[in-house]
């Protein structure tokens, strides 16, 4: 097993460019104090400004979409799932009470399996690239941060996708596309790979962070300030409020995604409990019983609807699944409601980008997997 450092690899991607020429420096120094209004800008920046206006328009559109209720598409049916608003808050309050009693240990360990990348195959089924990771985030800035990761291979995502894939003749290769990449790519079915270890020493972490306090403790400080938890979960809200007079309404989907992040990352018992309590009072979030996660475990899902940014008209539900007995977060996933934007070619009703949490919590063990 080899140790890799993803940051060193990223640094190595970028060549060292030549220093700017004396003429460029001199011209820039002259331009600095010129009056921007009379100065004709180079075409690149003009094009950029036009883009900015378009981007601003897109943001306005997104805000309007988030705020507007109107004609909502119907929620997709999930077999065996039933809506349950009454019991929901009780579960969240019980989860908060349990979270509060947990003890902070030396490491926060998060073991997950995920299919962060999904592709739509022409046969109408979803192909996913799956992976498993085991992250150990230390309580102390002096300890190493260790993450183990391995690919689980590429294949049909869910049982239904598996069936559709078989019906299509079980092809070993298919041409697919994803929202993040305009290219059509050819994928081949593959199996699990080897574990890789990613390690960042305490010294390197201090150097990167240039700080002496563990970042999660900084988050704790932020969360305990008035209104801080909202700022921690939804940082865009604060920034947007500064940019314009109109407060940004965070859609329920984003509320769930922000909450999932804090619930599965190193955070104090107090913060985790506060997140559960905050979720109990969130408008637009419903509860559905009997939702299956990526591992086939059944739980109660908090469901929040979101729209894709950019006006492509995509609508999806985010599900944050909780075990109603242990109150552990089991995972999160998206259910496509209306095609468009983020999941091109994926049919309404499909469950995509599933993440299952196998283990999340503080421990005094040393990193291993």
């Amino acid at each position: 097993m080899t140790d890799l450092n993803e940051l060193t690899e990223v640094r190595a991607l970028f060549d060292d460019p030549p220093a700017p020429s004396a003429q460029v420096v001199a011209a820039a120094r002259r331009r600095m104090a010129e009056d921007g209004r009379s100065e004709r800008r180079p075409w690149r920046l003009q094009a950029g400004l036009a883009g900015l206006t378009a981007a601003a328009a897109a943001v306005t559109l997104a805000v309007a979409t988030l705020g507007g209720g109107g004609s909502e598409p119907p929620r997709p049916e999930q077999p065996g799932a039933t809506e349950n608003k009454v019991g929901g808050n009780n579960i969240l309050l019980a989860a908060a009470a349990k979270a509060e009693r947990e003890q902070v240990g030396r490491y926060y360990r998060t073991r997950t399996v995920a299919e962060p990348v999904v592709y739509a195959a022409p046969g109408g089924y979803v192909v996913a690239r799956k992976s498993e990771s085991d992250e150990w985030a230390p309580r102390s800035i002096s300890d190493a941060y260790v993450a183990y990761h391995r690919p689980l291979g590429i294949g049909p995502a869910t049982g239904a996708d598996q069936a559709a894939w078989r019906k299509a003749g079980s092809p070993r290769k298919f041409r697919v596309r994803t929202a993040d990449d305009p290219r059509t790519i050819t994928l081949a079915i593959s199996g699990p790979g080897e574990w890789e270890t990613f390690r960042t020493t305490g010294a390197e972490r201090k150097r990167l962070c240039k700080c002496d306090v563990e970042p999660w403790m900084e988050r704790e400080k932020l969360a305990s300030a008035p209104g801080g938890l909202e700022r921690l979960l939804f940082p865009e809200k604060q920034k947007q409020a500064r940019l314009g007079d109109r407060p940004l309404r965070i859609d329920p989907a984003n509320r769930l995604l922000g909450s999932y992040d804090v619930l599965t990352e190193a955070a104090s018992p107090k913060v985790r409990a506060a997140v559960f309590r905050l979720l109990a009072g969130q408008p637009g979030i419903t509860m559905v019983d009997g939702v299956r996660d990526m591992r086939g475990r059944t739980g109660v899902a908090l469901v929040g609807r979101g729209t894709t940014i950019g006006g492509a008209g995509g609508v999806f539900d985010v599900q944050l699944i909780i075990d109603p007995k242990t109150y552990q977060v089991l995972g999160k996933q998206y259910v496509v409601v209306t095609k468009g934007g983020r999941f091109p070619g994926v049919q309404p009703g499909a469950v995509v980008e599933r993440h299952a949490v196998l283990e999340a919590g503080w421990t005094n063990e040393s990193p291993h997997h």
Binding site: P20, A28, R41, L45, S131, T186, G193, F198, C211, P215
Partner: protein, 203 residues
């Protein structure tokens, strides 16, 4: 992370960027010291993320904008670097398409001019690097812009989390989260680079 630290320009005793900028409110030419101290650094950062020619424009525009906004500078901040990187980051954000194109090119580019093919071992090493480089460049391209900004301000500009928070105007905790999320995605990309992987990309 083997890049040498940026050469610090020694400043006269007790003179930090904030006091230079404050003086430049009435004596604009003093702002030249800020330009001289940081222009090359900002230019290099932009050139790495985009290309040298775009960097000529954006670095110049960064200082043009900084100069116009110098009266709004927060004088409690002695170091102007985060502020300048913040302005540059905003300007880079207008060139997202150029940036994505660059990563796509990086993903396809042979390392160091490519393998000669005469020496099997060299070819194997280069091919191993290429295996890392391609998926990694794709992963950086696929990051949400906000995560990419944080990642590259830490890795390329070597700003501290606190400085990144200042540069982007977001809370410290947000910087940590975005950085961690970006790293996770990079690991996913690297983790997929084992030699057994059976996948091919076509344009």
């Amino acid at each position: 992370m083997t890049a040498p630290p940026d050469v610090a320009i020694p400043s006269p005793e007790g003179v930090d960027d904030a006091s230079v900028i404050e003086r430049s409110w009435h004596e604009p030419e003093r702002f030249g010291a800020i330009f001289d101290a940081y222009f090359t650094e900002i230019h290099r950062y932009v050139a790495r993320r985009l290309d040298v020619h775009v960097a000529d424009d954006i670095a110049a525009e960064t200082f043009h904008a900084a100069f116009r906004k110098r009266r709004t500078y927060d004088l409690t901040r002695g170091d102007a670097r985060p502020w300048l990187y913040g302005i540059a980051t905003n300007l880079i954000g207008r060139h997202r398409r150029d940036e994505t194109r660059k990563y796509r090119a990086l993903a396809r580019l042979p390392i160091d001019g490519g393998a000669t093919g005469h020496e099997d071992r060299v070819a194997a090493r280069v091919s191993a690097q290429q295996q890392v480089r391609g998926p990694l460049a794709d992963a950086v391209a696929g990051l949400p812009a906000k995560q990419r900004d944080v990642l590259l301000l830490v890795v390329l500009a070597e700003l501290s989390y606190e400085e990144v928070a200042q540069a982007l105007g977001v809370p410290f905790g947000t910087v940590c989260s975005r950085f961690n999320r970006a790293r996770r995605k990079l690991r996913e990309a690297l983790g997929g680079t084992n030699p057994l992987r059976d996948e091919e990309r076509t344009r």
